[in-house]
Each structure stands twice: as structure tokens, then as C-alpha cells.
């Protein structure tokens, strides 16, 4: 069977466009990585803050990573007190007193991105504070109003409201998080590199699905258009094995697309800012935005990477099999691709909850992990609760389509 599958790949990659599209996937991923790692960071200080300079993100991220990494260690009251003291010092320096920056006043750090580092870190300090506040339950929780006020102190009020949206259920969330935190030792470290990788990794979008569909749109129809079906059907291996090989080829190609994306992201991140530790708990910090607030500290980066990988693989494989199935049904490359374009693009504009069943919406994987309508269901020890249903549905459908193709190709046998 392996030889048959390889022969299908040979057919696929005999077309220069196939190679080209794989290169496009790599370029697209690189472009997205570049956009994340080299996003513009604003140097700002003062109260109200003023933008004084725009800097290349990677310089800032590297510096910020070093700053935060110095606090590495078990999360404790002492560590929290040290961060908070530094934090207040910096706030006093940059925000409250609106003092102009003077490098001499800041020991240890003297790079060009210095101001950006501090303003960036402390601009996001609320998130650190929130998490650490939960860790140290005796530090006193804040009411919604207090939180809003506290956030609004650094951000404008609308932004603050968005930031603390999930805090409407703050006491409940806090209680649950606290119980989780108390049960294990949390190692604090800079999660900036991890957040950047996750952010880049999570950029897979509808273009990838469209490319995959395009590559596979003539998987079955090419045998009809080239008249090869007669030769295949009358051979000992026949369409039965050929169809199976085609299905495996489609699945394999989905894995290749995923692997290209993942490898590109990982290599790019290793080049720019290597991940420190996959076993760290997810935490937004230092301007490396990764809006996972509702479950920060609940899952490690390794867990989330596995979750995202699973999600992407289910999306890509089911998409590949759906394309193969349509190619088999229609025996027409353009028709197949047209249908797949509609299937991929239409749900982007759909607002109904059911649109989440489509792969293109499923790719927004992390959104499934957020709290919806103040419901805390995702915290009930089963944060992947909803997406599991979609995964199961598509796995069953993928197997079903494969079986249907296999079953129907036996019809030519003479009784």
C-alpha cells in the first residue's frame, strides 16, 4: 500500500503548481511569523503616556524576556513582592511622575529598547498582577469596580472594560484558579517566547484550507479526465486499492501542510527567540499578547500546543478528505474546487453558532477556550469540552467518506 500511496504523491507532485503551493504555505507562515515577531512596539512613558518612538518588536521581546526571566523561580509571596516593588518603582518613574527617561536611573539595562521594555512590561502588568493576585489569595481580591478602576489607571476606560470583561465572574474564577494553584507548584518565568510561538502557530487560516483543497481537487477526477480509470479498474490492485491510496495521500498531504506550518513556526522561533520551557503555565506577559486570560495558569504551553495541533490536524485532514470525496463524486476538478471555496469562505461571514462546525471556524481554535456569555463551563476540568464534539464529528465523517469511496469503487465487478 505504501508504494501505491507514494505513486499518488508522484502524480500530485508531477505538477509544478503543487510544489509552488507548498512553497507559498512556507512563505505565508514566514510572513505571519515576521508580522508577530517584528510587530511595532511603541515606546511610551508619562502620565498620560506619550509615544516617543516605534521600535522593532523582536528587540523589545528579547529585552523583555531577559527582564522577566530574572524572576524565574517558584511562584511565592517573596517573588511577587519583588516584582511588585520593581513594578511600582517603574510606574513611579514612567507613569505617575511623568519623569523623562534617564538611562542612569535604571541600573542593569542600557539597550536601545530599554524604555519599550519597561513600558511594555508594565503596560501588561495587570495580567501578571491578576494571576499573581490569585496565587497569593491572602493579598486580597478586587471587586469588579476596583479592578476596572485599577485597569483604567493604566489604560483608557473602554480598553480596561474589555480587559476585565471576564472578571464579571471574578470571585468564582478566582476561587477555582486558587484551588488549582494551591494544588501544585507554579514555576514563574518569562513566557514571552512561548506566547510568540503560540501566537504564530495559531495563525493558520482559510488560505491553508484553500491551498489544500486546490492541491486535492483533481485527486480522483484526474483519472477520469486522463482516461486512466479504465486501466486502473482493470488492474489487479484496481480502484479498490487506488482509492485507498488516494485517501491516505489526501490525509498525508494534510499532515504535510500542517508539518510545514509547524516546522516553519518552530524554526523561525528558534532563530528569533527560542522557547524557554514548554512546561511553563500559560500566562500573558510583557506585551507578547496571547489572549488566554480566562485560563491562564491552568494549562501548560505543551498542552496548548498539542491541543492546537490536534485541532489543526482534524481541520486539515477532514478538509482533505472532503475535497477527495467531492473530487470522487463530481469527477470535475473545477467544480470540486468551487464547492470547496464556498465551503471554506462562506462560514467566515456566518454568525450562527453552527458555523463553528466548519473547518475554517474550527481553526479559530483558541476561541473555543474562552468564556462565552459569562459561563464558566470551560473551567469545569474539561476546557476542550466543545471542540471535542466537533473533532469527533469530523473524525467520524472522514472515516465515513473514506469508506463510501472504498465501497462504491467495487461496483464494477462482474458477478
Amino acid at each position: 500500500m505504501m508504494k501505491m500511496v507514494l505513486s499518488e504523491y508522484r502524480k500530485l507532485f508531477k505538477r509544478p503548481i503543487s510544489w509552488l503551493l507548498l512553497v507559498v504555505i512556507v512563505i505565508m507562515t514566514l510572513y505571519q511569523c515576521h508580522g508577530i515577531y517584528h510587530r511595532t512596539i511603541l515606546k511610551q512613558y508619562g502620565n498620560p503616556r506619550e509615544i516617543v518612538q516605534e521600535v522593532d518588536g523582536i528587540a523589545y521581546f528579547r529585552q523583555a524576556d531577559q527582564v522577566l526571566h530574572q524572576y524565574r523561580g517558584p511562584a511565592s509571596q517573596e517573588m511577587y513582592a519583588r516584582i511588585k516593588a520593581d513594578y511600582h518603582d517603574m510606574l513611579d518613574m514612567y507613569y505617575l511622575n511623568a519623569k523623562p527617561l534617564n538611562d542612569d536611573e535604571i541600573p542593569y539595562y542600557d539597550t536601545d529598547a530599554l524604555l519599550a521594555v519597561y513600558t511594555g512590561i508594565y503596560q501588561n502588568q495587570p495580567n501578571i498582577h491578576f494571576n499573581l493576585d490569585v496565587i497569593s489569595a491572602d493579598d486580597g481580591g478586587k471587586s469588579d469596580e476596583e479592578a476596572l478602576e485599577w485597569y483604567g489607571w493604566l489604560l483608557d476606560r473602554d480598553a480596561a472594560f474589555n480587559e476585565v470583561y471576564h472578571l464579571k465572574g471574578y470571585p468564582e474564577i478566582k476561587a477555582q484558579l486558587a484551588s488549582v494553584y494551591e494544588a501544585r507548584e507554579i514555576i514563574f518565568d518569562s513566557t514571552i517566547p512561548n506566547n510568540l510561538v503560540l501566537d504564530a502557530f495559531d495563525q493558520m487560516n482559510f488560505f491553508y484550507l484553500l491551498i489544500l483543497s486546490f492541491l486535492l481537487a483533481n485527486l480522483f477526477s484526474q483519472e477520469k479526465t486522463t482516461h486512466m480509470d479504465a486501466l486502473i479498474n482493470s488492474s489487479p490492485r484496481g480502484y479498490r486499492q487506488t482509492a485507498a491510496a488516494k485517501c491516505w495521500c489526501a490525509i498525508g498531504l494534510a499532515v504535510i501542510v500542517f508539518a510545514l506550518h509547524a516546522l516553519t513556526v518552530l524554526l523561525y522561533s528558534a532563530w528569533m527567540l527560542p522557547v524557554r520551557d514548554w512546561s511553563l503555565w500559560v500566562m500573558n506577559m510583557g506585551g507578547a499578547y496571547y489572549t488566554l486570560e480566562p485560563y491562564q495558569g491552568l494549562y501548560t504551553y505543551r498542552t496548548l500546543m498539542i491541543y492546537l495541533s490536534m485541532n489543526m490536524l482534524v481541520c486539515l485532514i477532514s478538509m482533505a478528505m472532503l475535497t477527495a470525496f467531492l473530487s470522487y463524486l463530481t469527477n470535475h476538478q473545477l467544480l470540486t474546487y468551487g464547492l470547496m471555496v464556498v465551503w471554506t469562505v462562506l462560514p467566515i461571514f456566518m454568525t450562527h453558532e453552527l458555523s463553528r462546525l466548519f473547518q475554517v471556524r474550527m481553526l479559530e481554535g483558541l476561541k473555543y477556550l474562552q468564556i462565552q456569555n459569562d459561563q464558566l463551563s470551560v473551567f469545569n476540568g474539561e476546557i476542550l469540552y466543545h471542540i471535542h464534539i466537533y473533532w469527533l464529528m469530523w473524525i467520524v465523517l472522514t472515516i465515513g467518506m473514506g469508506l463510501l469511496i472504498h465501497w462504491r469503487f467495487q461496483r464494477y465487478r462482474i458477478a
Binding site: K3, H227, M228
Partner: protein, 280 residues
Amino acid sequence: MELRVENLTKTFKKKKAVADMNFVLHPGIYGLLGPNGSGKTTLLRMIAGVEKPDRGTVWFDGFKTGDYYDTFTSQLGYLPQHFGYYPTYTVEQFWQYLALLKNLSKPYATSRINTLLKQLHLEEQRHVKLKKLSGGMRQRVGIGQALLNEPKLLLLDEPTVGLDPQERLTFYQILHELADDCIIFLSTHIVSDLDMLADEILVMKAGRLMFQDTKEALIASVQGHVWEVEAMPELQSQYALSRVQGQTLRLVSSQCPAPGARLVTPDLNDFYLYYFQKEA
């Protein structure tokens, strides 16, 4: 070894393409003759397992082909009327793929490919893409793929289309070499092919088998119906012309077509014209 076809029937919409076909073939070369739309291609496709029949059974070597499909197809060589190929494959790559489909071991496939490249005079085209080959060369590639597994049953649908006279002779020679141990069943419009090749000919008309007999017997059946006569314009529209040689017309007719017409010894072309003059 025999190929037995029993009650094979296929209907497309309301038209019976093949109706209750029954015949038995043994090793040798068999021609399948008939006008366009007579069901030749459908018959071959059903035997090859490419087309599903409405009813009927095909036995090969004592077994129902449907029950032992893998065994049957491993002994089958099939050249469809519209020979399919992947344009970007080279000759060698294409045959390698077909060898894979035919479940041939790699050493055996390599040896067969080398042999066929030589036999079919395609050595120089070994690494040439199929889309760059002439029609005749491509047809030879098609014949080659059918012969890859040294088949015991060879179904050839219009195999000589596009071949030049030299290529045709080579093809005849190859088939003659195979015929001792192989059932070769070929459909063609080119009567001279059957003249040169066929031990027996099956004649189809409107999906039905009209004759199955030796070439000599078929020719004998039109003895007394083939005439030569001096060219006259009105004869050309009234009778089916077998050929024109200078001022002499050769035509088929049950009756003497004109005063002075003389009976001549018929050939296979005359037989075909006699029975299919309406279609011709």
C-alpha cells in the same frame, strides 16, 4: 484455458449496447468486427471489469471472473479505446506505475520494461514525457502497458490506430508470438488487421453477435456476391464499393449489378461491406 462469456448484457438508457452475448475463446487471436455503435467497446469493457453489465457471467479458466477478480486481472492485459495516460510521466515512469497496479515485482517489472522498450522500438523515448510523443508512439506505449504482465488474456480495443505500416508489422509479430499461450481479443475497424492476424472473427451488429467463425468461413459466406465491373457513375451510388482500381469498380451485391460484371474471389473487406453496407 478459455474465456467463456454467458448472456452478457448491457443497456444504456433504453438502448441495448450488448444483448445476450455468448461465446467461448481459446488461445489464439480473435478479431471483433462491427460498425460504430455495435457494442464492441462495451463488450471489451465489461470483460475487463471496467463496465458493469446488467446481467451475464464471464468465466476465465473455469472461474467466474467476479469471484476471483484479483487472479483474473493479474492475467489480463487491456488496451482501452481511449488509452489513458499521465502526460507528465515518461514512458518508463508510466510503465512502472502500471507495473505497480499490476502487482509486479520490481525486478520482473524492470526486466519486462527493458524488453518491451526494445520490442516496441521505444528505447530512445524511455525518458521522454508522454505528452511529447507522437500519437503512434503513445499507442505503442499503450500496447506495451497491456503486455507488461505477460497476460493470458489480452483485450485490445482499436490497437493499431495511429500506427504506421512498419509499427503495425511489429505489432502483428508480437501478437503472433503471444498467441500460442494467450487469448488475444482485439476489436478494430481496420479490416486488414484482422486479415493479417485473426484466427477467428466475431462479428457484432446492434449489440448482438452475428457470426463467430474463421476468416475463411466468413469470406466464403459472401462467395458469389462480389463483382468487378467497368466504372459507371450510377453504380457508385447504388452499390457498396469495395474498392476502385483505375476504371474497374469492385462492389458487393447479391445480384449481378450490371451487364459485363464478373464474379471475383471475395476477401474480408468484401464480407464486411456485404453485411454492413447500410452502416458503411
